[in-house]
Amino acid sequence: MKKLSARRRHPLAAVVVLLLALAATGGLYAAFAPADKAQAEETSQSLAIEEGKKLYTVGCASCHGTGGEGTTDGPSLVGVGSASVDFQVGTGRMPAQQPGAQVPKKKVIYSQAEIDQLAAYVASLGAGPITPTEDQYSPKGADVAKGGDLFRTNCAQCHNFTGKGGALTDGKYAPTLEGVSNKHLYEAMQTGPQNMPSFPDGVMPEKEKKEIIAYVETMNDPDKASSPGGLTLGGLGPVSEGLFAWIFGLGALIATAVWVAAHTAKAKKS
């Protein structure tokens, strides 16, 4: 200690301290920064990236640019992460059919292996949300009631109480959550595709995402959610209920009235 304190006024002391500080910050960053960067090191991974790049060049580059830098027809893919690719391509939204207010869900044309390769390539362009593993999105053991509360606070404004979807401005819309896989639900929350805001872990921790997934699963899974009241009429609320009341309720009653009036007493008729 004596030696150290003796050299404290050495002309190079400031430089040494600076170097030590830089090394510490860099080391800490390397230790704690969001993962991803390690991916490229393994050989199978780099192979996937290479394969992914080939698929990318054929299917995506015309809009997103040859290096994922984006063009006037499509946004940059640098930093969107593998979760985005897995969601967009895995639900069939990408590759897009045509420009419009919103890119709709359609038939998936890539196999899951190809989607993984595409995702690996896009992830290599810049760090972003990673495709979740099953224990991240599996709703097992999550609190459904808590999920319902979170859903009504964060999701219902656009997706409706029970996830049936709703309209946004100028032809855009929040799609129905019926039949959406748990993984895709998780990825959508994580990445915020199209008009949806994103809910990264800092805003909504993994546990809450699980709870929301548990709620959506309970509401939309036909095996889990029996409808105690009978037909749900689309779950759209008073508009479909009103139509049903007019057409089937009042319609049947008027038809009955016509029938009753047509069968009158005929005692004195010739």
């Binding site: 207010a101 609190d143 459904v144 009631a145 808590k146 319902g148 509360d149 009504r152 606070t153 219902a156 404004q157 656009c158 409706n160 109480f161 029970t162 049936k164 979807g165 709703g166 309209a167 946004l168 401005t169 100028d170 032809g171 819309y173 929040a174 709620y215 309970t218 509401m219 409808s227 105690p228 009241g229 009978g230 037909l231 749900t232 009429l233 779950g235 759209l236 609320g237 008073p238 508009v239 479909s240 209920e241 009103g242 049903f244 009341a245 007019w246 089937f248 309720g249 009042l250 049947a252 009653l253 008027i254 009955t256 009235a257 016509v258 009753v260 009036a261 047509a262 009158t264 007493a265």
Partner: protein, 544 residues
């Protein structure tokens, strides 16, 4: 008559039924009541049973509503739910919401009764609309029935608000949004709005009072008034006697039909059970207002697709399509975007309510009418009714613009603009088109009377010409097609007398004459064939 026989044979003991009836008659006067009413005649037509649908669904609503009050807790105290519906366990909610969950899942038959109550309410208001339209388009509101029309109109208006307060009671997220909507409308009233809101909710929204207050209004105040109006409505129907469609043997002074007892008692009684049965089937088959899926009301939560029940959809539409105009002056805000719809709502509804008085003023017709009009024979009235319905329907689209957008892949903005334009243009177009159609149908009737029905038989004449044989109508059919009266428009007369002195005619009189022209003036009704015309054409010296 009966007293005479009694004095002759005093030892005979009357049967028990007769004795009970005698006892009742001595205190209630039921004999004369029965004598006057048991053989009362009602005409037979399906459209006269629309009012019955309203009456029976109202009875069903009251019966099921009483059952629901046994289990409902009208309180906004916050509790934590621990009932049998798993997805809500541990959620904080009001006692009102919790007890509605309990009715739905734990009370025996509770969910079915709740759904019958709600479906019957939707059908009740819908049936009142259709009943009102029947009365409107056939001109059944004319003297002496204007007051009864108003009773019916009030029933519709109160029915809408009874429905709204009932829809708000479970304190779920959907109805809470609806109450917030209403509170917003109240706040938009200049000067007094904030005071009314504070008074109604007992402080800031939502407070702890509105469920219990709406509860008294929903189960006591409004149904009580409606019951009174309903009884008055029925008494007036009996007092005025029922209207009937024109036909052989039917005049302004008689009613052709079946007696109340036994025919109508059986029919109406049976029809009640049919109505109850159909509503019960609908309620057993289809979910209505699944509050368990909607969650309890919290002011910080809201869902898309939040609409009121259909009868308030019109008000919802007015708000949704109104541009959000505001005037800010001297530190105060006038929220025109909400205030204008709030004013338009009663005005549009009221337009149909006051129509009978406007029509009788325009036409100057103060006589009694018991024979109904065919809608085509009153083109202006029919066109007005269709125009009103068009405006109403367009606003319903406005109220459901988001659902229309997602289900027809349209832009919600485009729908809103469509509604904004066609709320004004639609009724005008509908008025013109309906009037033309009515006049066309009148011409067709005239043609049928004069030339007979087209038989479809083609005849070839000796000189080679082909003609279609027209069959003359039956006497009864001829009567039916020509029974309607044709009115003359009100004339002001010459405004200048023979000495050239100008006569003063008030603006009101001038307007009346002008409107009268548009009802009955040239081109607004087709002159019905006269007996002379008919004779001339049917005398055989065929000119077609």
């Amino acid at each position: 008559m009966s007293t005479a026989t009694e004095t002759k044979r005093p030892e005979r003991k009357a049967p028990a039924g007769e004795r009970v009836a005698d006892w009742a008659d001595g205190r209630l006067g039921i004999y004369s009541l029965a004598k006057a009413n048991m053989r009362k005649i009602f005409p037979d037509h399906w459209s006269f049973m629309l009012g019955e649908i309203c009456l029976y669904s109202f009875v069903i609503i009251i019966l099921t509503g009483v059952y629901l009050t046994l289990f409902f807790t009208p309180s906004m105290n916050e509790i934590v739910y621990h009932g049998s519906y798993v997805p809500m366990q541990g959620v904080r909610m009001s006692e009102a919401y919790a007890s509605t969950l309990e009715i739905s899942f734990d009370v025996r038959g509770g969910l079915l009764i709740r759904q019958i109550h709600h479906w019957a309410a939707l059908i009740f208001v819908a049936a009142m609309m259709v009943h009102m339209m029947r009365v409107f388009f056939t001109g059944a509101f004319r003297k002496p029935r204007e007051v009864n029309w108003l009773f019916g109109f009030l029933l519709l208006f109160l029915g809408m608000f009874t429905g709204f307060t009932g829809y708000s009671l479970p304190d779920d997220l959907l109805s809470g949004t609806g109450v917030r909507f209403m509170q917003g409308a109240i706040l938009a009233v200049p000067v007094v709005g904030t005071y009314i809101s504070m008074f109604l909710f007992g402080g800031e929204f939502p407070g702890h009072d509105f469920v219990s207050r709406f509860y008294s209004i929903h189960i006591l105040l409004l149904p009580g008034i409606m019951l009174g109006l309903l009884v008055g409505h029925l008494i007036l129907v009996v007092y005025h006697k029922h209207t009937q469609y024109a036909g052989p043997g039917r005049t302004e002074k008689n009613v052709v039909g079946m007696p109340l007892l036994p025919v109508y008692m059986a029919k109406a009684g049976g029809f009640f059970f049919l109505v109850f049965g159909i509503i019960a089937v609908v309620s057993a088959v289809a979910t209505l207002n699944p509050i368990w899926a909607l969650g309890p009301y919290r002011v910080d939560q809201v869902s898309t697709g939040a609409q009121p029940d259909w009868y308030m959809g019109f008000a919802e539409g007015l708000i949704r399509v109104m541009p959000g105009w505001e005037i800010n002056a001297w530190g105060h805000t006038l929220a025109l975007g909400v205030l204008i719809p709030l004013i338009a709502f009663p005005l549009v509804l009221g337009a149909i309510g006051v129509y009978p008085f406007i029509e009788s003023w325009v036409t100057g017709d103060k006589r009694e009418h018991h024979i109904l009009d065919r809608p085509r024979n009153a083109p202006t009235r029919t066109a007005f009714g269709v125009a009103w319905l068009t405006a109403y329907f367009i606003m319903l689209i406005g109220g459901g613009n988001d659902i229309v957008a997602t289900h027809f892949n349209l832009s919600i903005n485009a729908i809103t603009w469509f509604v904004r334009i066609f709320f004004f243009a639609g009724p005008v177009i509908a008025f013109i088109v309906t009037k033309r159609i009515c006049l066309g149908l009148q011409r067709r009737d005239r043609d049928k009377v004069l030339h007979g029905r087209e038989s479809g038989i083609i005849k070839r004449l000796p000189h080679g010409e082909f003609v279609e044989v027209h069959e003359p109508l039956s006497q009864g059919e001829l009567y039916r097609l020509t029974a309607h009266e044709q009115y003359k428009p009100i004339e002001i007369g010459p405004t200048v007398d023979k000495n050239g002195v100008e006569r003063k005619v008030s603006l009101v009189k001038k307007t009346q004459a002008k409107l009268s022209q548009s009802f009955y003036g040239e081109g607004n009704q087709i002159p019905k064939p006269t007996a002379e015309e008919y004779k001339e054409i049917t005398s055989g010296h065929g000119h077609h």
